[in-house]
């Protein structure tokens, strides 16, 4: 917000600079914009015909698109309330172009100038067309007129420079994210925008009522009329749709909508595509930011989030929103030459780590993760997805109630060994172990150390006697049956034990309990151990010396907006080092979306890419705040580095400086299993 305000201030200054430039070049400020004097009836008739043809061509394409969107299924559970965040998102993402600029500063700023220029031009264009009917309402000689036309002229200059820059970027720099195919239509559009600006600016240099003024007027008008029908035929449809999309997008990050009725299994066919998804697919501006940040797409997998959206769009164009034709191409005749068929495939859908980078990056309000999870739901809930690892995971969750497929008695033994008290209502916190904390050797070390931190702080806690997985991997892999069963059993367990406050070491557990379970009931208040420890950071031992690079887990950062708390804990335990990609731009470890349990067979390993980046910072320790990230890096760091940095969770970073009063974690029994 502050950054946005600063930028606003910056462009105001540059605007002032631009008018100074006009003055210093001897540009006569008092020379008004030259308007054509008189229009013949023929000209007015031609103008009306032009407007009608242009608008007709616009609606010829825009009409069917609007119809497709409106004929799509209604979004279950959609509500305009709370409207506050919608207004804010609209203000920040559309009006301020906050996200556009923040995530790609240079092209983003150029885009913002074009956008703001368009806004400034709205009044100018309206007056321009009105002139053709002799009803111009903004006389250039008037005070307001002379000011406004100059104001617009400054914008025209900025727009012309920006669009020229964007043209050079698209056709000469050619960033890979814009796609292999050069979009010539974008070139035409850029040229038209440039022409609009030039034909406007030129009118300052000719005499009012002259033939030159008339021809400039017509040039400007025809360009405008040619521009309009191009909008719905190209990705420039985002001009019309994206402000609506940003305003209407579902509240909450990666919000997975509830299933409605007995026939809803997720995105199986066109008939399951909702209005919001439909609107979002038509809003895509094909900028490729989603792909640029996608851990699957950038490591050689089939998945490409942009192509998923475009694949959906071409599906809707071909089959319509009421179709029964399956969305995923395994179920229809696939053609290798048709990219959308390739990307809208079962394989692609199940390569997503649900890290949410695509959704976070998208400047036009597309929410990719619910779409991808929706496709998975359609495949898993109907049994169409067949995968050995996936089936093994679901059966383990059904039978054992934990993702690692170990006997529940293993958890009992661990609790006994650690002498964790059972939660009986007298303790302040219920310490949630999770699958990793309860069954995985490394996860157990983290839990044991966090328990020591709690003891050190004098906070009372207990663990549930029986605990099952939150259902996170089932949820993200689209198995609603297993997810619902686990969510309901978990809610009941908390209710029976009368739990008020929960703390957990796993961001996936926290997110799933706090947000995803809401469909079935309200869970007690839950927080991540980073939030808990940050609250007591002054009571944590201050350590100095070692450099620690902190890795933002997707489910803690982007999903829950927790960035500073774990850093506060890390700063207490050593010197905080930032990774090249951090905070909202953090790169996934590869474990999310149930992928920790599936095979990653194509391309480079996501975990290796990230481990290389973390090790490359030269930090002595890699600090994590998620047991899944931890387990992924455990193997990856040794694979990518000769002398790998130490790998510790923030709880371990803290606990290692505590006086050793409790039994150390070496006494843990060796167990078989663990995340593969």
């Amino acid at each position: 917000m502050v950054a946005g305000a600063l930028r606003l201030a910056a462009w105001t200054r540059s605007l002032a600079g631009a008018s100074l430039f006009f003055q210093s070049q001897g540009f006569n400020l008092s020379a008004p914009l030259a308007e054509p004097s008189h229009f013949t009836t023929l000209e007015s008739v031609l103008l009306i015909a032009g407007i009608l043809v242009s608008a007709g061509l616009f609606f010829w394409r825009f009409g069917p698109i609007l119809k497709t969107i409106l004929r799509s299924r209604k979004d279950p559970g959609f509500s305009l309330q709370p409207i506050g965040h919608r207004v804010w998102d609209f203000f920040w993402e559309v009006l301020c172009q906050g996200k556009v600029i923040q995530q790609r500063p240079l092209p983003g700023l150029a885009h913002a100038f074009v956008f703001w220029g368009f806004l400034a031009f709205a009044l100018v264009s309206l007056n321009h067309l009105a002139l053709g009917f002799g009803i111009g309402f903004l006389p250039p000689a008037s005070l307001i007129g002379s000011f406004y036309f100059l104001f617009a002229a400054a914008w025209a200059l900025l727009v012309a420079i920006s669009i020229a820059g964007l043209f050079v970027r698209r056709f000469f720099v050619r960033p890979v994210w814009l796609g292999q195919k050069v979009s010539y239509e974008s070139g035409v559009i850029a040229f038209l925008i440039f022409l609009l600006m030039v034909s406007y600016l030129a009118a300052f240099f000719v005499d009012a009522g002259s033939a030159a003024a008339k021809s400039l007027w017509w040039t400007h008008t025809l360009t405008l009329l040619a521009f309009l029908p191009l909008i719905p035929h190209t990705k420039h449809l985002h001009l019309v749709l994206s402000p609506v999309t940003v305003f209407l997008k579902n509240s909450g990050f990666s919000q997975i909508p509830p299933l409605s009725g007995d026939e809803d299994f997720g995105l199986v066919a066109g008939k399951d595509v909702t209005r919001l998804v439909s609107l979002q697919t038509y809003s895509c501006v094909e900028c490729g930011r989603c792909t640029e940040h996608c851990p699957a797409a950038t490591t050689g997998k089939v998945l490409n989030p942009k192509e998923i959206i475009l694949g959906l769009r071409s599906y809707l164009n071909e089959f319509g929103p009421a179709s029964d034709t399956p969305l995923l191409s395994e179920s229809r005749i696939s053609s290798p030459d048709n990219p959308p068929e390739k990307y809208l495939s079962m394989e692609a859908a199940f390569e997503c780590t649900t890290c949410g980078s695509c959704e976070f990056q998208c400047p036009v309000g597309i929410q990719h993760v619910p779409v991808i999870v929706g496709l998975r739901r359609g495949a898993t809930n109907t049994g169409a997805w067949e995968d050995n690892y996936g089936t093994k995971l679901f059966l383990a969750l059904e039978k054992n109630g934990n993702a690692l497929g170990l006997s529940a008695t293993e958890r009992d033994k661990f609790i006994q060994k650690q002498a964790f008290p059972i939660f009986d209502g007298s303790q302040e916190y219920c310490l949630w172990l999770g699958c990793m904390g309860g069954y995985d050797p490394k996860g157990r070390e983290i839990i044991a150390d966090f328990a020591r931190v709690m003891q050190h702080l004098g906070t009372s806690f207990g663990v549930l006697k029986k605990e099952k997985c939150t259902g996170d991997p089932a949820r993200r892999l689209g198995n609603d049956l297993v997810f619902q069963t686990l969510a309901e059993s978990g809610l009941k367990a908390f209710e029976t034990a009368k739990v008020q406050k929960i703390v957990a070491i796993c961001p996936h557990c926290v997110r799933t309990i706090a947000t995803d379970w809401r469909e079935f009931g309200i869970a007690p208040e839950i927080e991540h151990h980073s939030e808990f420890m940050a609250r007591y950071k002054d009571k944590l031992p201050k350590q100095s010396g070692e450099s620690i690079v902190y890795h933002d887990p997707c489910y803690l950062g982007r999903y829950q907006d927790v960035y500073e708390e774990p850093r506060a804990v890390v700063a207490q335990a050593g010197t905080l080092v930032e990774a090249p990609r951090s905070h909202e731009r953090s790169f996934c470890c590869g474990a999310g979306g149930g992928l920790a349990f599936l095979g990653e067979e194509k391309g480079e390993r996501v975990s290796h890419v990230r481990a290389k980046e973390l090790a490359g910072t030269g930090a002595q320790i890699v600090g994590t705040a998620c047991p899944f990230c931890n387990t992924m890096f455990r193997d990856a760091l040794t694979a990518v580095s000769e002398a790998p940095p130490q790998l510790l969770d923030i709880a371990q970073l803290t606990a290692r400086a505590l006086p050793a009063s409790q039994p150390k974690s070496e006494s843990l029994p060796p167990i078989s299993g663990g995340v593969q």
Binding site: F265, N400, N479
Partner: protein
């Protein structure tokens, strides 16, 4: 092909099992029940045979109290077409023959082409029900089956023998097979399956009255007892040595 799968509901693998007060059976109060594992593989084999065939019907049969209906519903959710619940509250009072009789009674009316069942149950592990059932129905059977292949008129099956040996058998239909765990990959239950299962038929039939007292009864159920036994051998060294050799040979059987 019409396939009947006879399944049993057993306590969950991790269930904390306690012996009941009367020492005749386990305490069923706090237990969670699930499908017997080899029966899950029998069901999977039936579903795959039907899928390969393109046509056919899979009927699941289970004897027990009302709780077994949850296991039957799960089987329907995984893809079985119909379910028959043979209602009997005191399953434990019947011996293998008695159980096979009530199953035979219910299955006879279906006159299936093939009957599948797990090779043994996770709780009692007797491994006889399938064999006796085949005998009662007067049809051929094969046990410990890893693979089933339908030929034109009958079946080709792969039996597991000991020591890594397998036996391939061809047999006519109708027949009964007892299925070994692990031959196939089990499928996961789906939301669509559960919803479809609600509309499928689950018929409850009474168990046939027993034809007399069971010929085998469970005497006592107990946890393995650890015991130490010391026996003093007396005599001359030669006699003692001879006794030791004899004991090692015939009692401990290590020689």
């Amino acid at each position: 092909m019409k396939i009947v799968v006879a399944i049993k509901q057993v306590p969950e693998r991790d269930a904390p099992v306690h012996v009941a007060a009367d020492g005749k059976w386990i305490d069923e109060g706090d237990l969670n029940y699930t499908i017997n594992e080899p029966d899950a593989y029998a069901l999977e084999e039936a579903l795959q045979l039907k899928e390969k065939n393109g046509t056919g019907e899979v009927v699941v049969v289970c004897a027990g109290p009302e709780r077994v209906q949850s296991t039957l519903r799960e089987a329907l959710a995984k893809g079985a077409d119909r379910a028959i619940h043979i209602e009997i509250d005191d399953l434990g009072s019947r011996d293998t023959l008695g159980i096979a009789q009530i199953l035979a009674d219910a299955i006879k009316a279906e006159s299936p082409d093939l009957i599948l069942t797990g090779l043994q149950s996770d709780d009692l592990g007797l491994g006889q029900t399938g064999v006796v059932l085949a005998e009662l129905l007067g049809i051929p059977h094969a046990t410990i089956i890893m693979q089933v292949e339908a030929t034109g008129s009958g079946l080709k099956v792969k039996r597991e023998l000991e020591d890594g040996w397998f036996q391939h058998v061809e047999m006519p239909l109708p027949a009964l097979l007892t299925i070994q765990s692990g031959g196939n990959k089990l499928r996961y239950a789906t939301l669509m399956g559960i919803k479809k299962a609600k509309t499928k038929e689950l018929k409850t039939v009474p168990a046939a009255a027993s034809s007399g007292a069971p010929s085998i009864a469970l005497e006592r159920v107990y946890l393995p007892e650890k015991q130490k036994k010391t026996e003093m051998l007396t005599g001359s060294p030669a006699e003692v040595a001879a006794k030791i050799v004899e004991k090692l040979k015939f009692e401990v059987r290590v020689l």
